[in-house]
Amino acid sequence: MWITEAAAAAASAGGVKPAMFLRIAADPIIRAWSGVGDFRLSADTIETEDGAIYKGVGRLAEWPAFDVLFNGEAGRLSITMSGVDAALQDLAEDSAADIDQAACHLGVLFLDERDQPIAAPLWVVEGEMEDLETDRRAGLRTVTVTIGYGPLDRRRPLLGYWSPADQEARSPGDLFCSRTPLYAEGSEVTWPRW
């Protein structure tokens, strides 16, 4: 379980108060959270700046649904944000080189009955920026960021064989698979040769 026990206990006591965080490591770094006003986070493995201020209302227009990925799946999600924000406008008008593959993180933490965080945020999605588009209609301007996450580099999976040659490649000198050719029916993978 990725929720801490304290958070789970508070949630089961009634009144779940989640707070969601979005961090896009573009230049400048975009920081937003799902609530109102400012929120200060301490430095952790993702947030490099201690005491970084996440902005509340006025940034996030919606919160995306995201999948838990396993077995090498990759996912993609879109986040729509207010497009009148100066930092986001700057981002939208930036050159692609500055924002391409910028690291994006989504985190979650839970607040107690007095709106204090129960634990440090858990960064549930780590991805990179794939696309950024602006939408402008009468009276509405939004920026939509598409984030790819999971193993998304589209390489084919690296297959291996339980053959002496492959085992030698994985762990030189290891004889674990040295007798598997005895079980092979008809063919034996002999490459690579050492």
Partner: protein, 229 residues
Amino acid sequence: MDEFPVTNFPVEKLRWRPASVSTSGGQTLTGPGQDASWDGGGWWVAELVGIDLGDEQALRAIRALLLLALGGVTRFIVPMLDWPLSPALSSVPHGDGSPFADSSEYVSGAVAAHLAADVSLRDTTIDLYLDPETAGPLQGGEVFTLVYPTHGPRIHMIGKVDSVTDDVYTVFIRPPIREDLAAEAEVDFNRPRCVMKLNDPDGEAWPWIVPGWEGKTDLRFAEAFDELS
């Protein structure tokens, strides 16, 4: 930032409330569902309903203000007009406890209060000192303003008094503190006011003029936050 002259426009109904956002988990098979709160503290909303614009002067004044409000872009400092609910003593005698010759006492003065300890962003449990010469004990439900260096004046409401020690009250407040403040900062119970913007996307606040040059309008304000950074 201009102050919105709320006192110039008598209202029929006035309501200030901390708005919040909650999501329901849906109706469950046999009982109440679960709810989650998403606002992380809430923000203030003010509704001034039934403002009487009975004369040209008032009409001109409201039109000028709506023009300044620019459909909700310009921010105003909006006073709360919540004085009856302040903890101020209703009347104060002379220093030796005696009243005036006609047995009346001083009408209550300003409440003197300040932060007893530093507060930091998003604190909800704070210590504040209340001068007992100027104010009665806090009970919960009182509102006060803290003036922040960059966010300006913001309103907070006392939800619960945890403990009282030597006129220092430990209280639970909402919304959470908006910005770091040092101890001794003034806690203003006398004139609660908040940085807000007009919430009027459809221009409904502009009064209809009816024959006889009368008009009525409603104004709605919402607490304004940094959108630009």
